[in-house]
């Protein structure tokens, strides 16, 4: 695998705000394929594509796909067992 084509889930934060209506990069996710738990902001993000593809850091399976359609973002769930917001805000609300 040559794998320098990806960035981090962080890069898809703007799309996720449009899709979820909230900042999501600090939310934790669990891969339905291998059970790896990781922040959405830390997933492998392939953004040079027709949509943004987020893959599991453990096994590479597709977990989320965001496509910017003219009528709004469509966010599709792949191998996601669960997503949860961080237990208590990791940082205080911005002033």
């Amino acid at each position: 695998m040559s794998d320098d084509a990806h960035v981090d889930g962080n890069a898809v934060g703007g799309m996720m705000i449009e899709a979820f209506g909230a900042e999501m990069t600090a939310a934790r996710s669990c891969c339905a394929e291998c059970g790896t738990v990781a922040a959405l902001g830390a997933l492998l993000a392939y953004t040079r594509a027709p949509g943004d593809v987020l893959r599991c850091t453990g096994c590479g399976v597709v977990m989320l796909v965001a496509v910017a359609r003219p009528e709004g973002v469509r966010l599709s769930l792949g191998a996601v067992r669960w997503i949860e917001p961080p237990a208590g805000p990791p940082v205080s609300a911005a002033p």
């Binding site: 040079r48 027709p50 590479g60 597709v62 796909v65």
Partner: protein, 201 residues
């Protein structure tokens, strides 16, 4: 049109010769690399191409068997749904007419499968009659892995996501089954001249 960025023109875009560039597309001279996942490393001695699904007997080729098939060199314009078009691209490959010759099927649909898990669907008839190839060379050189090598599907009359990189087979299907981008909101057919970008277009 809403906001305009004063003085912004963007990447130099040419309109191209009349009738060559579909609506909403601009012409590039480089070859952008798009990928939904890591580039698979496929040694040629492990590479296979298999036609399966609604067939009595699946047919399969090793790399050497595949390369022994009659091939052709074609010059085609390609159109990516992300709005770039590249004119006069030079490919060598094996026509799907050759690969499907003698395959007896009642299927009307095809699902291309790739190393790495990518899929894309299209009507079987769009693979026939000189419209599609499994291409192994670009510009006279072996197809680079980042562009889909060892071999990719080439279906230039549809948006380029239909031209699956790292293709390893085609399933012939009685019922249509959406592929990767088709599942995630892109158009099921993808005719660039009709701007069929998203599902519902």
């Amino acid at each position: 049109m809403g906001f305009v960025s004063r003085g912004f023109r963007g990447r130099r875009r040419a309109d191209g010769p009349p009738g060559r560039v579909p609506p909403g597309q601009y012409v590039v001279t480089d070859f952008p690399v798009l990928s939904a996942g890591p580039t698979p490393d496929v040694p040629l001695d492990e590479w296979r191409f298999t036609i399966a699904g609604e067939v009595d007997d699946p047919v399969s080729w090793s790399w050497d068997e595949f390369r022994a098939l009659p091939s052709e060199r074609v010059t085609k314009d390609i159109h990516c749904v992300t709005k770039w078009s590249k004119l006069d691209t030079d490919w060598e490959g094996v026509s799907l007419d050759v690969l499907l010759d003698g395959v007896d099927t009642a299927a009307e649909y095809a699902l291309a499968r790739s190393y790495g898990g990518y899929t894309t669907n299209l009507p079987l008839e769009d693979l026939l009659d000189g419209k599609a190839w499994v291409a192994y060379a670009f510009g006279g050189a072996p197809l680079e892995p980042e562009h889909g090598g060892p071999a990719r599907l080439l279906v230039p009359h549809l948006y380029f996501w239909k031209s699956a990189k790292w293709v390893t087979g085609i399933d012939l299907l009685a019922a249509d089954r959406p592929g990767f981008w088709e599942n995630y909101g892109y158009h099921n057919y993808g005719d660039p001249w009709l701007e069929q970008r998203y599902a519902g277009d």
